[in-house]
Amino acid sequence: MNLAGLKPGQKGRIVSIGAIGPLKRRLMDMGVLVGEEVKVVKVAPMGDPIEVFIKSYNLSLRKNEAEGIAVEVLA
């Protein structure tokens, strides 16, 4: 399962980050790290991007950016 596949309200724990280079670094700088708990809050009205709750703040990212983030579903 990847982050883009979670439904709003679903929680997951990040297992791995497939992105490389600047995208990976940017994600990590924003607190998207392996082991972190993440919750999908919303999907934008047109279906993309998505809003997630991580490290007690809200982050938005495009689905193609979220696809590389593997998660295990928590609830």
Partner: protein
């Protein structure tokens, strides 16, 4: 290293009867922090009107600076761009770290959002690597307290080894204390360098190994850079640092990092990020107590409505509509008043004054039609720029800008743009100039440039008078459809050009979207005012000079050689005649048409005015009585009152966007009857449609050009815009004219 600079006044103390030399310490403070941590508000609250807004050299990122005295110490505040990290990827991060590493300020003021401690401390950890004294402003402290957060400030100071001062920039608490600590060195209690945090055995060992070999092989490097920062960057494999230090493939690095790589894998950058975050997480856990049951936040409630799956887009469009209305409809009566003042009273007064000193006729014309009219061309933009800046700053400060991007990104991304591009594009329909300035809301240089390149295809208000005259003359029955077709053509071509640019000029990965959705906050009025004022002033001074120069140039073209009987013989007419053959395949290859188009460089609506001057003989010029000085003054006063009234009225009147309405233009149209009659003789309907197509698409006006050059600090993007728009205008007009002829719409 103590970087404090001491400036001794050169004055002899004896002469003043004062035996102590007067010394003034200068402390340079770099302000660093995450975006949305209230950094701007804090700086505005401290420095206020002493703030100077400019750009970082060579880039489009805003730079704020202020110098002022505090308790006998001269403080120089330098605001660094808001960043989440000091990695070398975004423009903002590169600027911030280059400044910190190269310029070595005396002190870093780290603004931290107390409601979002963990992610903010991740930057703090990185700032502490630099070995520069750090003072932390634990900002938005009031909000954190209201949320029930309990932060152990003393514990935080102890763990980090830096002074931590709770502040609220909006309520102006803690600011004095902050400055006091910042200058406290004077009393012999210099702010100490922060603790060196332990990054774990493996990393510390690797750093030590590198330090050891550098001491032998590159001693200069350790002098030149903050040591700990350099070592950690080398462990991390920071591409920029490897490049500037020339240590890319040195064996000393691979030896030192061998064990680290074996234990943690190849991606040491990720390892360092994890270590820094775990430090931030650990610190947060130690000092922050959150209430057991978090309440539903206001932000969450607002977002439930504003980002709603069904209502999200309508709400966004409504907000945009209000913004558009406020930007253009509020400023329009004021702009109109300014242009009436320029064309009326100011012109009369200048004429009268010059008449008194018996100035030759051409100088009167140069002064009134060239200089005063040119100044007017700049001034009419001022209300609009102020209104737009106010709005954009409000949207950003309140947190809605990020939501706007979130809602629109899908659609804008499809044509290679960013969700935030929507606002500049929309503003473009009012006027391209504020639209180009509004691209500053986009962080990524690629997104910004592409947006600015496409903005001129949005048909602005200045093109409307041209359409209206031609539609009145040639398409009185289906004017609405023709007008609509032009707007749609602009949008469709923007989409097409977006695709083309994406595949050519901007090949490669689209920039990322990853963006914080900050909590909603009420922006401080002072902050809004300072920002708006600084931008408006900037425009007046910088853009004003260029626009004035071009206006005077056009005056020379139009009026020289002095005293020509026929406009055809003026320089403008001559240039027009030279260009005309190139336009004849488009159906309007006359010197009159091309001269008018050239004059449109000043502003596209000038095309109509120039045509009026050229086509319609001057014979019918009204010899109206010139108003007296007193009458002029009265007109000015009552005009302003009326304009202000209209501004207010435009806000409250709910329907329609008056700056786009043609009602008023219809009024003016009656005055243009002779021109319309003349145009009917000169153009076929098909050629007329080709002509307005050309006006829609050809080069941006000079004010838009200046905006582009000023925003990007280079002529490059304007050059590209000019080039592609000329080609596009020519090809589309050709397509319309020749295609129309083939389809049998007449020649």
């Amino acid at each position: 290293m103590n970087g404090q600079t001491v400036v001794k006044e050169q004055e002899s103390p004896m002469k003043r009867g004062n035996l102590r030399p007067v010394e003034q310490r200068v402390v340079t403070i770099a302000v660093a922090g995450n975006p949305n941590a209230g950094k701007s508000t804090l700086i505005n609250a401290i420095a206020g009107s002493r703030l100077h807004v400019g750009n970082w050299p060579g880039v489009t990122v805003e730079k704020k600076e202020a110098s002022f005295d505090y308790q006998g110490t001269k403080i120089r505040l330098v605001d660094l761009p808001g960043t989440y990290s000091l990695s070398p990827y975004t423009q903002e991060e590169i600027i911030a770290r280059d400044y910190l590493v190269e310029e070595r300020p005396d002190l870093i003021l780290n603004v931290v959002d107390a409601t979002n401690l963990e992610r903010n401390l991740y930057l703090t950890v990185q700032l502490m690597e630099l070995g520069i004294p750090v003072v932390m402003a634990l900002n938005i402290y009031d909000e954190a307290q209201a949320k029930g957060y309990r932060i152990d400030v003393a514990q935080m100071e102890k763990m980090l080894g830096i002074p931590v001062i709770p502040t609220s920039a909006t309520k102006k608490t803690g600011l004095d204390q902050l400055l006091e600590v910042a200058v406290s060195g004077e009393k012999g209690q210099q702010v100490a360098a922060p603790h060196q945090l332990n990054y774990g055995e493996d990393i510390e060992a690797a750093a030590e190994l590198i330090a050891g070999s550098l001491r032998n092989s590159h001693p200069g490097l350790l002098e030149r850079y903050p040591t700990r920062w350099l070592l950690l960057k080398l462990v991390e494999g920071d591409a920029e640092v490897q490049k500037t230090t020339n240590l890319t493939d040195q064996s000393l690095l691979s030896e030192a990092l061998y064990h680290l790589r074996r234990a943690h894998g190849e991606d040491l950058e990720a390892v360092l990020a994890e270590v820094r975050y775990s430090l931030a997480t650990g610190l947060t856990r130690e000092v922050l107590k959150k209430p057991e049951l978090p309440r539903t936040e206001v932000t969450e409630k607002i977002d439930r409505i504003v980002l709603h799956r069904v209502f999200g887009i309508p709400i966004f469009l409504a907000a945009m509509w209000i913004m558009f209305k406020l930007t253009f409809d509020v400023s329009k009566p004021l702009a109109d008043w300014i242009s009436t003042m320029i064309a009326g009273p100011f012109k009369h007064w200048a004429e009268a004054l010059l008449g008194l000193i018996h100035a030759p006729e051409w100088t009167v014309s140069l002064a009134t039609d060239g200089i005063i009219a040119g100044t007017g061309n700049v001034l009419v933009f001022v209300p609009m720029i102020f209104a737009m800046m106010f709005f954009i700053t409000f949207l950003e400060g309140s947190g809605y800008m990020a939501r706007a991007a979130f809602v629109m990104d899908r659609a804008m991304h499809a044509i290679g743009l960013h969700g935030k591009s929507f606002i500049p594009m929309l503003l473009g329909f009012g006027c391209n100039v504020p639209a180009i300035y509004a691209t500053r809301t986009l962080e990524n240089p690629r997104d910004k440039a592409l947006t600015a390149l496409l903005v001129p295809l949005m048909s602005c208000g200045a093109r409307l008078p041209v359409y209206v005259v031609f539609i009145g003359a040639f398409f009185p029955k289906n004017g609405g459809t023709v007008l609509w077709s032009l707007y749609v053509m602009g949008i469709v071509l923007a989409i097409v050009m977006g695709f083309i640019f994406k595949k050519t000029l901007f090949r490669g990965d689209a920039p990322m979207f990853i963006m914080e959705l900050p909590p909603y906050r009420v922006p401080s009025l002072k902050s809004l005012m300072i920002h708006t004022w600084e931008k408006g002033k900037h425009f007046l001074v910088k853009a004003g000079t260029y626009v004035l120069a071009v206006s005077i140039m056009v005056w020379f073209l139009l009026n020289l050689p002095w005293g020509v009987e026929h406009k055809r013989d003026s320089y403008l007419g001559q240039v027009g005649a030279a260009v005309a053959p190139a336009l004849s395949p488009l159906g309007f290859g006359s010197w009159e048409a091309s001269s008018s188009l050239i004059a449109g460089l000043v502003a596209k609506e000038i095309v109509v005015g120039t045509m009026g001057e050229i086509y319609v003989k001057k014979a019918e010029e009204k010899k109206a009585e010139k108003p007296t000085f007193a009458q002029d003054l009265q007109t000015a006063g009552s005009g302003l009152v009326k304009a202000l009234g209209e501004s207010v009225n435009n806000v409250t009147s709910t329907f329609g966007v008056s700056s786009l309405s043609t009602a008023e233009d219809a009024e003016k149209l009656a005055e243009r009857t002779p021109l319309r009659e003349e145009l009917k003789k000169q153009f076929t309907p098909l050629a007329a449609y080709a002509f307005i197509t050309f006006v829609l698409l050809y080069m941006p006006c000079v004010v838009a050009a200046v905006a582009m050059v000023q925003e990007f600090g280079t002529w490059k993007w304007y050059g590209i815009a000019f080039g592609y728009q000329m080609v596009l205008a020519w090809s589309m007009a050709l397509l319309v004219y020749q295609g129309g002829k083939l389809l049998g719409f007449g020649g």
